[in-house]
Symmetry: D2
Subunit: 126 residues, 4 copies
Amino acid sequence: MRFPIEVRYNDYDTKGHINNAVYLTYFEIARARAWLEAMRGDPDFPFVVAEAQIKYVSEGMIGEPIDIEIGTTEVRNKAWVWTYIIRCQRDNRVVAEGSTVQVMFDYASRRTIPIPDDVRGALALV
Amino acid sequence: MRFPIEVRYNDYDTKGHINNAVYLTYFEIARARAWLEAMRGDPDFPFVVAEAQIKYVSEGMIGEPIDIEIGTTEVRNKAWVWTYIIRCQRDNRVVAEGSTVQVMFDYASRRTIPIPDDVRGALALV
Amino acid sequence: MRFPIEVRYNDYDTKGHINNAVYLTYFEIARARAWLEAMRGDPDFPFVVAEAQIKYVSEGMIGEPIDIEIGTTEVRNKAWVWTYIIRCQRDNRVVAEGSTVQVMFDYASRRTIPIPDDVRGALALV
Amino acid sequence: MRFPIEVRYNDYDTKGHINNAVYLTYFEIARARAWLEAMRGDPDFPFVVAEAQIKYVSEGMIGEPIDIEIGTTEVRNKAWVWTYIIRCQRDNRVVAEGSTVQVMFDYASRRTIPIPDDVRGALALV
């Protein structure tokens, strides 16, 4: 799945760059979009993020329109990996890329749980 | 260096957790503090962040006071690694840990540059 | 001008509401859009915000798609007023409404300046 | 009550100013502090913000340490007004000032309620 990110003026820092922490928010926007579109899931996510990593490949500058791509790259028993690439729409260059590990979580019992079958099926579509 | 983080109400998400992206902001607060205290540096950082990674070890919940520790764990020619541990002040448990790679950057010429000697000396103090 | 806002998961607070401060960011998104579309202006705004006020009319809840409307409601010599209404797309109810006062600013001389004619003309289109 | 704000690097915008929306977050930090210190209240606030207004009096620039003052300026049956002044610690000049109206809220029944006596007493201390 690939779609544009609505960059906000206050995502930029004093240098006119997208702030490094904001990219994790872009990853979260992609997760929300994937979750809602492929899985028609609850916007209040039933999983937790266990790990995140990111490489800042080129400068994301003020005024540049950007896209994000999200894909499922690994599915385990309770956890899965989503991988992200953020590109400038103008020249398609990579601005940042990274991944996050999600763990299925039951907020009622506050425990991790195996990935349900419907989620497992939907993950293949992302 | 270890010091408390002033957690903000809007750092919390719908689950009452500190949002996953906000931890990178806490890393940035630690960088700013290290930069200003050990190096008496310009608050407008003369470096860029090239990589970040984080593990979310336990849930950081609303109302819990937290500390962050930052240490220099590697120094190269142009780049260095800072490592972070975020702990709950009450039980000292680890909430999150991670690292970032910084590259010295000359914003005038927009190029990476070798770490100056005074910065190299100061990095040893963090 | 009226358009949808891309709400982010971390705009929500512990109650599942859009956080009160985030609405000013939505106002800023509307300003950016107006500035770029009606005025084809620099994304690095040449004005400062002098005042803001907002009424939180109904609860903006997680999962609700929202729109923002922006209109120019007053133009003075150096300053103008933009007024905003945020509505839920589902039932068109008002979630929040407010206004901001902008003052034209020359960042080179760091002084307020009269509104240039081209900006004045474009303000009439918002 | 007056206390320092821990300004974060990503509070600053491309101009090196504190972003206009972030000031409402500073007001929220002051509310949290007042609520916890004067009222020993739940960090998950039992009230909603109904209105906010702010004047941006002077530029809050990168590197400037700032303080916030919060005071209770009006108490009604269900609602009260908190007023804020943000000052630069160096020259004590006013950077911004504003106010918010809070309404006591019962999240279980989702209704506004009269201010309880213990809260009313504590409001006098802020």
